[in-house]
């Protein structure tokens, strides 16, 4: 259900758990669907032995995609007008992610949000904003 401007006030917070114990297989699923086959995300041998990371890690865009579900579940289908993020920390297999949208502005048929996703240690992995049409 789309949001109503009259139901929103600055400071309102919507939260959702995006994933619990992220599996390597989900990262593989995202690679296949998105077409981003960078071995850093799916190839443990390459990533540890050649690239020098402790393990494969999730595509930033997987975190942005999962965070997008939190947003569209909140604002409704086809309601987003803007959505942008910075990837502030890597996401690893085994991570549990929670995401928050905080209302920063409502008016003129548009609601604006701060968006943030953190891991199980409270480390921010994604930080951004969104705007949506509201009734």
């Amino acid at each position: 259900m789309p949001l109503k401007a009259s139901d929103l006030k600055v400071g309102d917070v919507h939260t959702a758990r995006l994933v619990e114990d992220l599996k390597r297989t989900q990262i593989v699923q995202y690679a296949g669907a998105s077409g981003d086959y960078n071995p850093l995300h799916t190839d443990e041998i390459f990533t540890t032995q050649v690239a020098g990371y402790p393990s494969v890690f999730a595509h930033g865009m997987l975190t942005m995609g999962m965070t997008g579900k939190m947003l569209t579940d909140y604002v409704g289908d086809a309601r987003l007008t803007k959505y942008g993020v910075r990837f502030t920390s890597q996401v690893w297999p085994g991570d549990t992610l929670d995401s928050t949208a905080t209302v920063t502005e409502v008016g003129g048929g548009i609601a604006k949000f701060d968006v943030k996703t953190v891991n199980q240690n409270g480390v921010e992995v994604l930080s951004g904003y969104a705007e949506a049409r509201v009734d």
């Binding site: 699923q29 390459f46 032995q49 050649v50 690239a51 995609g65 579900k69 569209t72």
Partner: protein, 173 residues
């Protein structure tokens, strides 16, 4: 990401939505989607990133008959040029995604046939604490529909690091 023809297909939307853990029927169930405000199957907000599938030159997809830098018999399928590389080498230590921004002019729908045209943006440098010198570069991609109308404007920022990003704590994985 450049694609002359990016056909938006319901099955691709279904697979993409699954991969980001989104079971909203508006991405998979034609009948249920018709009853929503969207009026039919639409794509999730970050779906246009999968235009990579339709970019013939996309460098993060193995191509038939060409070397690939992922592991096979050896940890990487590409022999590093002597003295070359640095960073993670093998094409691995370098490119990470730093930022992504979307502006939606309308929803992307199953049945759309989009084009993706990419324009290079700014480039800038920064000294990073955890990964040495950082080189950022921006690109803007316009997704237009079959009528030439702008559907999504995407701005991405990539970063190349001098060395792999140091981890604040031991790997949990």
């Amino acid at each position: 990401m450049a694609a002359k023809r990016f056909p938006v297909e319901a099955s691709h939307i279904l697979m993409f939505a699954r991969s980001v853990g989104d079971d909203n029927p508006v991405y998979s169930d034609e009948e249920a989607a018709k009853k929503t405000e969207a009026g039919g199957i639409i794509a999730p907000p970050t779906f246009v990133q999968s235009s990579a599938q339709f970019d013939p030159d996309y460098f993060l997809r193995p191509k038939i008959g060409q070397p690939w830098f992922g592991s096979g018999k050896n940890p990487t399928g590409i022999t590093r040029a002597p003295g070359g590389g640095g960073g993670g080498g093998g094409g691995g230590g370098g490119g990470l995604h730093a930022e992504q921004h979307y502006e939606y002019h309308r929803a992307v729908r199953a049945g759309d046939v989009l084009t993706a045209t990419t324009f290079p943006g700014k480039t800038w440098e920064k000294e990073g604490k955890r990964s040495g010198k950082l080189v950022f570069s921006e690109s803007v991609t316009e997704y237009r529909d079959q009528n030439g109308e702008l559907v999504v404007t995407a701005r991405g920022v990539g970063v190349r690091t001098e060395r792999p990003v140091e981890q604040p704590a031991p790997a949990k994985a």
